[in-house]
């Protein structure tokens, strides 16, 4: 092997044995990129397959296996390539195959479809019957970018996922990854970095929206004698939200690059990624990425020969929602129970092991390389004045196009739900969108014109949160949803503050009573009072926002509460104690419901209208889910 730093070293070790390659200067990184760029044959026909968690669950691994086998058996390796990537966002349609350069998007692909797709790609044709069709209009799309779900997005972060195999650092570098380090290291100006982040207007994507640059500036000012920490918060605990997981799984190097830039700007010495135990694939990809970056000389001592040292380690959480709160997360990293503590001192003064610490969310870190690539001013042109850049939402629930969507800040809820999401998934009308997870609130359908930014969402009683967006329709009961969130929060309350520990429990009990038909109108006043007390007298973010599900449903859906209390009726047909199942005259007597009823509560001859015995019925809804003629009523 040639001596480090000598001319031609990168090329030689790259061609001969990539394992030994260790970059020792910024120029060598540039050289490696230009070599990789040359080898990047973008016109070669390529199948792109997502192997993220959701697609994996719908069988993408089998598809990948068959594709590999087919390419091998037919000796097509010279003609067609395969890229296995992280999440593209359109999880509803998995497993899918995207072809390059055609951009054909084949959805819900079966194992037997593989040969047809490969052959069509080779002759630049399309497999018409597998192309994505709009479920409403039946319109067929030949190019992925024309599909409404993708067309209305601005995928600055998620778009990279499909270009990169997350376990190959060379893929990332070839796409311009780690190029920001070249500028950062050659400028040798930490303050410049912090100023750029401030200029970009980036605000924390974890939920609170604190300006990232300001946080960094405070950390930069702290004395670094004892060392300083940068933490990536990947404890994505909101149920129904998974954007952070997708970025970690699909593009772990973007987080690492962001953290290196942050460390250089704030003179931090150690990095930690705190990731949920429930995300095994994200942990796996991150571990591989860290090892690759360390071996290549992008992490560790004397990065790229600049004399600057910084390394990152992974800490795996053990399952506690409250650990998403900064001070609780710090205690968890220290190996203690994740109970929040009083601030000040703020983490930036006393964080992990008592040392100055900045904690940023996954998506925030993924934005950092983008700021420097496009320039802070250009970054700030996306979105609105005080809400710059894009935000990823996980659009789920009663919506046609479930998945991850990335949009510029300031877009309206309506655009997200209808233009991108395609509207309601069923026949029922949409009723509300819940944002911000358990600490968030509901936005009723008549307010869907609200702009999605930190301030506007707060005004209507919700929050941006980390980006969960759960769509609810007329079949969703708002009392039940409030009860669901309160159950979650009472279970996840750490118990340190009395008001949160008992308050969430009492609110849950009251909501439970109402949904069981035991509610009174006085309960509503009591709920409000409790909610205010919990909000005012608890210490951490979890407690202070724990009342939101109650307050926001009460604010917009009081009628539903009152109907539960006065008429003992659940309009959505969800609250079991308040509903009965019956069979109407639509019944054709097919006996499908009789076969699925676990209690034998349904009787009836073939071709005769069936009857449900209310005494035996456990209201499981099995009959309703199998009935093809909508003959099962819930009132």
């Amino acid at each position: 092997m040639k001596r480090m730093g000598e001319n031609g070293y990168v090329k030689q070790s790259f061609v001969q044995d990539t394992e030994t390659l260790r970059l020792s200067s910024v120029n060598e990184l540039k050289e490696l990129r230009s070599i990789l760029f040359e080898t990047l044959d973008e016109n070669k026909p390529r199948l792109v397959i997502c192997a993220g968690t959701a697609c994996h669950a719908s069988g993408s691994n089998g598809i990948i296996r068959i594709v590999k086998k087919y390419i091998l058996e037919k000796r097509l390796a010279d003609k067609v390539a395969l890229r296995i990537t992280g999440c593209h966002g359109f999880c509803e349609m998995g497993p899918f195959i995207l072809t390059e350069p055609q951009q054909a998007f084949y959805v819900q692909v079966g194992l037997g479809d593989v040969p047809r797709i490969v052959e069509a790609l080779l002759s630049d044709k399309y497999v018409e019957d597998l192309l994505y069709r709009d479920p409403a209009t039946g319109e067929k799309y030949y190019s992925r970018d024309d599909i409404p779900f993708f067309k209305h997005q601005q995928r600055s972060i998620l778009g990279l996922n499909e270009k990169i195999d997350p376990i190959r650092i060379y893929d990332y570098i070839a796409q311009g990854g780690y190029s920001v380090l070249e500028e950062v290291f050659s400028k040798q100006n930490a303050d410049w970095i912090v100023q750029q982040v401030k200029r970009s207007g980036l605000r924390g994507r974890g939920g609170a929206g604190f300006p990232t640059g300001l946080k960094w500036e405070m950390l930069a000012k702290q004395s670094g004698d004892q060392g300083k920490f940068l933490v990536c918060n990947a404890d994505e605990g909101d149920p129904g939200a998974y954007m952070d997981r997708s970025v970690l799984e699909g593009n772990p190097h973007s987080i690492i690059e962001g953290m290196i830039i942050g460390a250089y700007g704030t003179r931090a010495t150690e990095g930690i990624v705190y990731v949920r135990n429930e995300y095994p694939l994200a942990v796996k990809h991150l571990k591989i990425a860290l090892k690759q970056a360390q071996e290549l000389g992008l992490l560790g001592d004397n990065i790229l020969g600049t004399g600057f040292s910084f390394d990152i380690k992974i800490v795996i959480g053990a399952g506690a929602f409250v650990c998403g709160e900064e001070t609780a997360l710090i205690r968890s990293i220290e190996g203690k129970s994740g109970e929040p503590r009083q601030r000040p001192p703020f983490p930036v003064q006393k964080g992990v092991d008592g040392k100055p610490t900045v904690i940023n969310n996954v998506e925030t870190w993924a934005n950092i390389p983008l700021i420097f690539k496009s320039g802070a001013d250009k970054f700030a042109t996306v979105g609105t004045e005080n809400n710059t850049g894009t935000k990823i939402f996980s659009l789920v629930g009663k919506i046609k196009n479930t998945g991850l969507v990335e949009v510029p800040m300031g877009i309206t809820v309506k655009e997200i739900v209808y233009d991108i999401g395609g509207g309601a998934s069923g026949k029922a009308e949409l009723k509300a969108v819940q944002t911000g997870g358990p600490s968030g609130g509901c936005i009723p359908a008549n307010m869907f014109d609200v702009s999605v930014d930190y301030e506007s969402l707060a005004e209507v009683g919700s929050i941006m949160g980390s980006g969960g967006m759960i769509v609810m329709d007329e079949n969703t009961c708002m009392v039940d949803i409030a009860r669901y969130f309160m159950n979650f929060l009472k279970n996840e309350s750490c118990g340190k503050c009395f008001a949160c520990r008992k308050g969430t429990q009492r609110m849950y009990e009251i909501l439970d009573d109402i949904s069981n038909g035991k509610g009174t109108l006085e309960h509503l006043d009591l709920l409000k009072e409790l909610a205010e007390v919990v909000k005012d007298t608890t210490m951490c973010g979890l407690g202070q926002t724990a009342s939101n599900p109650v307050l926001s449903t009460l604010r917009y859906f009081t009628d539903e509460y009152i109907e539960h209390i006065e008429k003992k009726h659940c309009p959505a047909g969800v609250c079991k104690a308040l509903i009965t199942y019956s069979i109407n005259e639509n019944c054709v007597g097919c006996q499908a419901c009789i076969r699925v009823c676990p209690e034998g509560a349904i009787t009836g001859e073939k071709k005769q209208r069936h009857v449900i015995d209310a005494a035996k019925c456990i209201k499981c809804g099995a009959c309703r889910s199998v009935c093809k003629v909508e003959a099962v009523d819930v009132v």
Binding site: A54, A57, S58, P239, E278, V315, G437
Partner: protein, 164 residues
């Protein structure tokens, strides 16, 4: 010490105990070692009863109360033995609004146990999780590593029967 060992030997083999000691030894002295030790210990032993916690406390030179506090705080750790299969229902919001609650009730009925419990024959441990990030497939039930998406209550029996 001997009495403690006897407690451990009642539930675990001497190989498992040696593995536990190895885990403790590996992380000894690291800052924040307790949670990784407990995670690995649970992977090796399946669950963390008090005798195991005592061993960990002794090994890491921490008070037992601290170990017990951490074990009972985090939902990942369990103090009761687990079934051969772990059946997890996702009750994240997306699964919930798409009928997860009904699936949960059916599962409880089929298995005859409540959330967090293990069937008497130690075949299934049943628990609920917040979100598996497979919201596109809601509602979701995960048995061991297999993800069952768009589950219907009527299919639960059939799904469970695949495991023995």
């Amino acid at each position: 010490m001997k009495a403690e060992n006897d407690d451990l030997l009642q539930e675990f083999t001497s190989e498992q105990i040696a593995e536990l000691d190895g885990v403790i030894e590996k992380h000894k002295g690291e800052p924040g070692a307790l949670i990784p030790v407990l995670e690995e210990a649970q992977m090796a032993l399946g669950y963390l009863p008090v005798p195991v916690q005592k061993r960990v406390a002794g090994g890491l030179k921490l008070p037992l109360s601290r170990v017990y506090g951490v074990v009972t705080f985090y939902s990942l750790f369990t103090m009761t033995p687990r079934g051969k299969h772990t059946c997890r229902i996702c009750l994240g919001t997306a699964c919930y609004v798409r009928g997860g609650k009904k699936i949960a009730e059916t599962l409880e009925k089929e298995l005859g146990i409540k959330e967090g419990e293990t069937t008497e024959d130690r075949m299934f441990t049943y628990e609920s999780v917040r979100c598996l990030g497979a919201c596109g497939l809601a509602p979701v039930v995960v048995i061991d590593e297999d993800v069952h998406g768009r589950v219907k209550a009527a299919k639960i029996k059939e799904i469970l029967s695949e495991y023995d």
